[in-house]
């Protein structure tokens, strides 16, 4: 039954289906803002890696961007609450009006019910006044949203420009740091190279990798030692021990002809004897001694 045809006006205009759509849209946008904000929140927060002097401008702009979304989100939550409240009220008022409309329709054609009909219509108007008041509250929530948008999105806000300047400054800071620390970085790199070289040296000395040199070859030994120029203590140890011990006992690099009792001999303490008798075996303890270990 059409309200405006029976009463001559509609005191509670509103399409419940439209309210469902509006509510859904607001929820989706709020969810998107919350999700977007959480992406930035952990990066720009105090104590993050961007919180130092060079990163601070980046953290600041991330926080500002996050706050813009947060402000919009808060305003939308208020709108959503207003819409939900409006929906509940609309449902109740439209139900009242439906009941009034049914009563007025029942009185149609009865000339003695004019007073009752008038009272019912007056009640419908009162419901309409209440509806208008509630509508004004809903309108106010959306007017505040418009006001918030004006505050949030300022024309002079240049987030990308600020980010660009901050990244330029970050690049410059890194370049400065590299320039200042380059000598130390180089020393570290050389030192690491020496450690790596030392690993090769030890491998060769114990006979794991002969690299095509004969262990007794003095020139080869000098070359091996030369590969670790920074390891002074090792060089001194090698120079002290190498010529007397290592060339005589260092075996050829092979694991193919180890005798079955070699490990047992080693464990039982017959090291020197094993080293001498198993001079062709790759797992020779003499090689270990020769390496200075």
């Amino acid at each position: 039954m059409r309200v405006d045809l029976v009463l001559g006006f509609d005191p509670t205009p509103s399409e419940p289906q439209q309210l469902v759509v509006l509510s859904d849209v607001l929820r989706k946008v709020i969810r998107a803002l919350v999700q977007a904000r959480s992406e930035l929140g952990h990066i720009g927060c105090t104590g993050s890696v961007w919180d130092g002097p060079v990163g601070a401008p980046i953290a600041a702009l991330l926080r500002r961007y996050s706050l813009q979304m947060s402000a919009l989100e808060e305003s939308l939550v208020e709108c959503l609450q207003a819409v939900d409240s409006w929906r509940d009220g609309v449902e109740e008022r439209q139900s009242q009006v439906t009941s009034i409309v049914a009563s007025v329709a029942d009185l149609a054609g009865d000339p003695t019910a004019e007073d009752r009909r008038t009272r019912l219509i007056a009640t419908a108007r009162e419901v309409g006044v209440e509806h208008d008041r509630a509508a004004a509250d809903l309108a106010a929530a959306f007017e505040e949203l418009s006001g918030a948008v004006e505050q949030i999105v300022r024309a002079d806000d240049d987030l990308a420009g600020e980010l660009d300047r901050a990244l330029v400054a970050l690049t410059a800071a890194i370049d400065d740091w590299m320039a200042a620390e380059a000598p130390e970085l180089l020393r570290t790199a050389v030192s690491l190279g020496e450690v790596a070289g030392l690993t090769t040296v030890i491998s060769e000395l114990v006979g794991i990798a002969a690299l095509g040199r004969k262990p007794g070859d003095a020139a080869g030994v000098r070359e091996i030692i030369a590969r670790s120029p920074g390891s002074h203590r090792l060089i001194r140890a090698l120079r002290r021990q190498w010529l007397e011990v290592a060339p005589a006992t260092l075996p050829e690099a092979t694991f193919s002809s180890r005798s079955s009792g070699a490990i047992t001999d080693i464990l039982s303490g017959r090291r020197t004897q094993t080293a001498t008798s198993d001079s062709g075996a790759g797992f020779s303890v003499g090689g270990l001694k020769g390496s200075g270990e």
Binding site: P13, S14, E15, Q18, V21, L22, D24, V25, K28, V29, A32, L33, Q35, A36, E39, I43, V49, I58, L62, Y65, Q68, M69, L72, L76, C79, W86, V90, H131, D132, A134, A135, A136, L138, A139, A140, F142, L145, S146, V149, E150, I152, V153, D157, L159, A160, L163, D164, L167, V168, L170, T171, I174, G193, V195, A196, G197, T200, I208, A209, L211
Partner: protein, 100 residues
Amino acid sequence: MPLVGAEVQRLAHAFQQVSLELASGLTALRDSDFTAIGTPPCDSSVGAGMRDLHSALSALQQSSTDCISVMGRHGELAEPAPTDADQSGQGQPSSGEVES
């Protein structure tokens, strides 16, 4: 600078995610009709608010898109410097490798 590189990459990724999320918000607003919500003055305020919301989301998304472009221009911060081997196109054994 692996730490700086990783953090710059995280930042670029965050802006991309923000852009996607805001785009989904804009999609939700697209083609929505906000009439017959209530009284005519109320419909007018709701319609204006939702249009302003669309403008705000568009502006925020534009900011994230611009930031993604800026991050792209500073891509060298997110990538390790090329090594000699990378530049020559072939890897060299490190000094620690045993050439057996």
